[in-house]
Amino acid sequence: MIQRKVLEIWVGVFVAAGLFALGTLAFRVGNLATAEVANGYRIEAQFENIGGLKVRSPVTLAGVRIGRVAAIGFDPATYQAVVSMNIDGRYNVIPVDTSASIYTSGLLGEQYVGLEPGGSEEYLKDQGKIQLTQSALVLEKLVGRLFTSFIEKPAADKPASDKK
């Protein structure tokens, strides 16, 4: 039979290694470390269309992640989507006239909120609102617009035979 002490040591090593692995998964493989927003504050923005934005999508300023989307709602008065974002407390100097847009990282990547700072001396506070927003680019709309321009242009400007 195995010695009691040896057995205990092995079990201790096993459990410690297992917990370490769980921690590694959470913080190194997963996004728990970046998901945490330290003593953050909330700001809100209304968009015409949020596309594929999800709760916990990143919020960036100049490409730096400064927070995450905390909740997505719908305002029945304006028929717009209300996105509330949790911004890290360290970034508390965001001008009130900042604009928010929804971008896509890469061609088919995830969507995120990008902020572009304005020039105001006043800064957004908790429950502050961003007025200037630009909706997500919806691929179908883009393609649709492209097609209409293709069809309209030749008819208006040049004869159809000019096309290659």
């Binding site: 769980l22 959470a26 493989v29 996004n31």
Partner: protein, 256 residues
Amino acid sequence: MRAFQYLGGAALDGVERLGRATLFLYEVVSGSWMLVRRFYLVIEQVYAVGVLTLVIILVSGGFVGLVLGLQGYNTLAKFGAADSLGLLVALSLVRELGPVVTALLFAGRAGSALTAEIGLMKATDQLAGMEMMAVNPVTRVIAPRFFAGIVSMPLLAALFSVVGVLSGHMIGVGLLGVDVGAFWSQMQNGVDFYDDILNGVIKSVVFGVVVTGIAVFEGYDAVPTSEGVSRATNRTVVYSSLAVLGLDFIMTALMF
């Protein structure tokens, strides 16, 4: 007529066994309060169930990671998305392969050993002997093994995933030239703690309950002869593998 009779008999048999298993597991859980006082019994079994399964889990995790790295790279490179290799490896491991392959290996290594051990204890009158010594074998023998299995499974699955990611990193970054930064940043961006990791852990806990539950029940329910024990061991591996794969489908459908 014969076929119907056979079918009916088999169905009734199955329902009866299921009922007995449920009652048995209820007894195991309700009798487990004594483990709080005698936690050493569980630790002993974590050694038998967890530590002794560690090597096979680590080695398998390593190989699965290597294969994922190679196959993933070949496929992703066609689309020019080789940078996403880390994401692919990590997601496959954390969501599916980690919990499922660990559970299958666990059933083969620890589950069969549990069934054989308990079945032999039954065949050699050790369980009856305990009963006659006024010791309830369900709380003294079964419950510690059951809980050790539940504790060990998520830890083993996590180790499997981590080793897999590391060996995927080894093959992808070390051999195939994927950028280190891209490998890890894509992974961290794409793997969500709640959606992916936590759900993977939940899966492995459920698999732990199911595989260990089947193993201890089959051992306790075995016909107390050498043939009966070997049949029970066989059943443990078959039933728990099927249960793991079936439950994995159901849970995946519900979770993701």
